[in-house]
């Protein structure tokens, strides 16, 4: 099982804050976005267009990052901390 987390503006796009997903083998980000597309096409589109950042276990992903059972995947819109 993997956990998906949606932050800030992505919560309303995904329609949820968090969900769980069962995977049997490690999957790529592209494969993950195909799965997400079934429930939330807009979210999957943003992932493919790299409009959101994705972290796995609190580390930013690279193109070849594999998602494995037990991982926490987070969808992060562009950051705006620090005020100015």
């Amino acid at each position: 099982m993997i956990t998906l987390k949606y932050f800030a503006s992505l919560r309303s796009i995904a329609g949820k804050e968090e969900e769980s997903l069962d995977i049997t083998n490690p999957i790529t980000i592209d494969q993950l976005s195909d799965i997400i597309a079934q429930n939330s096409p807009k979210m999957a589109e943003m992932v493919r267009e790299k409009k959101v950042l994705i972290s796995v276990n609190q580390e930013m992903t690279a193109d070849d990052t594999l998602i494995r059972d037990g991982d926490e995947v987070a969808f992060l819109p562009p950051f705006s901390g620090g005020a100015i």
């Binding site: 932050f7 992060l76 562009p78 950051f79 705006s80 901390g81 620090g82 005020a83 100015i84």
Partner: protein, 145 residues
């Protein structure tokens, strides 16, 4: 001095005292000659819109980890003696404190450089988001730093 424990990197709902944070950093060494501090506060105007309120959200654990990475890299790359970084989350009124970076060093040059780098790096790498309340409603701020 409050009874707060001074972890050098924190994300918290409560306000902080700049004086207390500086005094905590001073205790690290008797060889501190320069302390540069950056304090970000809530502005009333943003792109011509009048803001009545701000609200910050973060990704727990990951945000703290990024701040700690910034702190360690500042010490390593700029040669400052130490650095503390505190970011508030939750509702923030205009004029209130949002983020504080304190860089302490033997000389002033490295503390200015480290502090300016750290706030830019925080905006670039730390999963914290801002929601602004204006007359038009609430919006998540999504511009890049």
């Amino acid at each position: 001095m409050s009874t707060t424990t001074f972890s050098k990197v924190r994300i918290q709902l409560e306000d902080f005292s700049v004086t207390d944070e500086i005094e905590a950093m001073k205790k690290v060494s008797r060889n501190i000659g320069g302390i540069t501090t950056f304090l970000g506060t809530g502005r009333e105007l943003s792109k011509g819109e009048n803001i009545s309120k701000l609200n910050f959200e973060h990704y727990p654990k990951m945000a703290e980890k990024k701040l700690e990475e910034i702190r360690e890299k500042a010490i390593q790359d700029f040669g400052v003696i130490d650095m503390s970084i505190i970011h508030r989350i939750g509702p923030i009124e205009i004029g209130e404190n949002i983020v504080l970076i304190v860089a302490v060093g033997e000389h002033r040059g490295e503390t200015f450089k480290a502090c300016e780098w750290a706030i830019a790096e925080l905006k670039r790498t730390t999963p914290i988001w801002k929601r602004e309340t204006t007359t038009k409603g609430e919006v998540w701020v999504q511009d890049t730093p």
